[in-house]
Subunit: 236 residues, 2 copies
DNA sequence: GGATTTATGTGTGATAGCGAACAGACGCAA
DNA sequence: TTGCGTCTGTTCGCTATCACACATAAATCC
């Protein structure tokens, strides 16, 4: 069973570790369930824990005011929350909100920084992840500037799908609107368009993707660009 | 004279070093002049040198296609180009374009990574700078999404002013448009509005700021937010 | 089972910014 | 002086998105 975990690790950032390193790390983690819409931290908060999602999704949000929010990063089992600790700053740069419940590994920040010093491979992997986060973040910023809501919605749904590893998941239009930084009505229109094209079905937060190829065709190239960046840097 | 340099260092990231560290670093730097509109690197390029501007400005641009560009970061004597080497990745995440000529310190990438290992203070300072870059980048992304051209232009002019350390500088509306990710005509309109308010004067690329307070009042809060982030993290 | 909450759909007008095309104005160089 | 390149100003129709207000429908709760 442990072998199975190593071949298909619970979190991709823990791949590539030696068996010994992996086992030691696992003794430091606790597995928890995050609560939907829970605000793990606000920008400027002290970082107490780092989180490695297994099935959950954490959204990084930049918050200007009540109706000016923007998703600037999404963390699933391909990433982690708290990687900026690598830079020697122990305050959170952004608000982190739980977008999807599910099992999550958690470790105290102090333990994390200590573990980094124990394993060069681990540290190297996380530094690379931080580089990828930076790149993707900028790609999303540009995406926000130039692409229309429907493209961006398609992109967002694909990113969620990849992280929940399922064709169907639960998310309200209101949440999607917050992430895209647009009005809910804007999401309603875009989602309706996707439904008419038989690409998704959507009812009261229950969303199902029927046509993956169609969705990728509609989404802007940013989806693919971000995936390429991830695999180029982290699976090198 | 050397003492003067230490009190008012050529580049702010070199402040806080001990005299010995500073002197050793300076032997590794060469001082060069960057050419206007020179593309130092494109996204994905190998990083050969790191740059510490003294009077110059380097703009980080994300490039989708010919007419879809966005400034995602600006580097003057408060920062450096190449800080992502800290993350152990030696390819550039973004295109870097010279926006203002002027003296610049340059060091080979290999020397830089070697020097990082020699001085913990230096490394710590640059890690913090990378954290600040990340934060500012996200702030700008949100700014692009929510604020109107005139606010953003005001913000941009203030950022340039701070880096050239002068009330007047040369930049075309075309360049400004590229950085803001809008049409030149959009900049023309916004710049005209600022001129009517007697805040700036502008003729064929020669721009002069007459009313700093007025310009800050018009610019969005992102300007101040970014400055606060910088001083909170780097001057701590 | 009725009331309330939550989630989605619709409609109307306003507006910021876009694309394209063109006109003037300044500056340098032959 | 003429010409050409660069920079800025102006206009027109168009579209995506916004703000606000209200309608409908499913889920949940007492």
């Amino acid at each position: 069973m442990q072998l199975k975990q190593r071949i298909s690790p619970v979190n991709n950032l823990l791949a590539g570790l030696t068996e010994v390193e992996y086992q030691r790390l696992m003794t430091e983690f606790e597995t928890i369930d995050l609560m939907l819409n829970e605000v793990i931290c606000n920008a400027g908060d002290q970082i107490h824990y780092v989180y490695f999602p297994i099935k959950s999704i954490i959204a990084l949000m930049n918050h200007l005011d009540a109706d000016k929010n923007l998703e600037v990063g999404m963390i699933g089992n391909e990433g982690m929350l708290g990687s900026t600790l690598l830079l020697g700053v122990n305050t959170a740069p952004f608000r982190a909100v739980v977008q999807n419940t599910g099992a999550t590994l958690r470790m105290p920040a102090a333990t994390f920084t200590h573990e980094l010093q124990q394993s060069l491979v681990f540290e190297q992997q996380l530094k690379r992840y931080l580089y990828v986060s930076l790149s993707q973040l900028v790609q999303n910023a540009t995406c926000n500037r130039f692409h229309v809501i429907e493209e961006r919605l398609a992109c967002l749904l694909l990113r969620i799908r990849d992280r929940v590893q399922s064709q169907s998941f639960h998310i309200t239009q209101e949440s999607l609107a917050q992430m895209l930084g647009v009005r809910r009505v804007g999401v309603t229109m875009a989602a309706k368009a996707l439904q008419h094209k038989k690409i998704i079905s959507y009812s009261r937060g229950n969303l199902r993707i029927h046509d993956n190829v169609g969705l990728e065709a509609i989404s802007c190239s940013c989806y693919q660009t971000n995936n390429e960046t991830y695999s180029r840097i982290l699976n090198a």
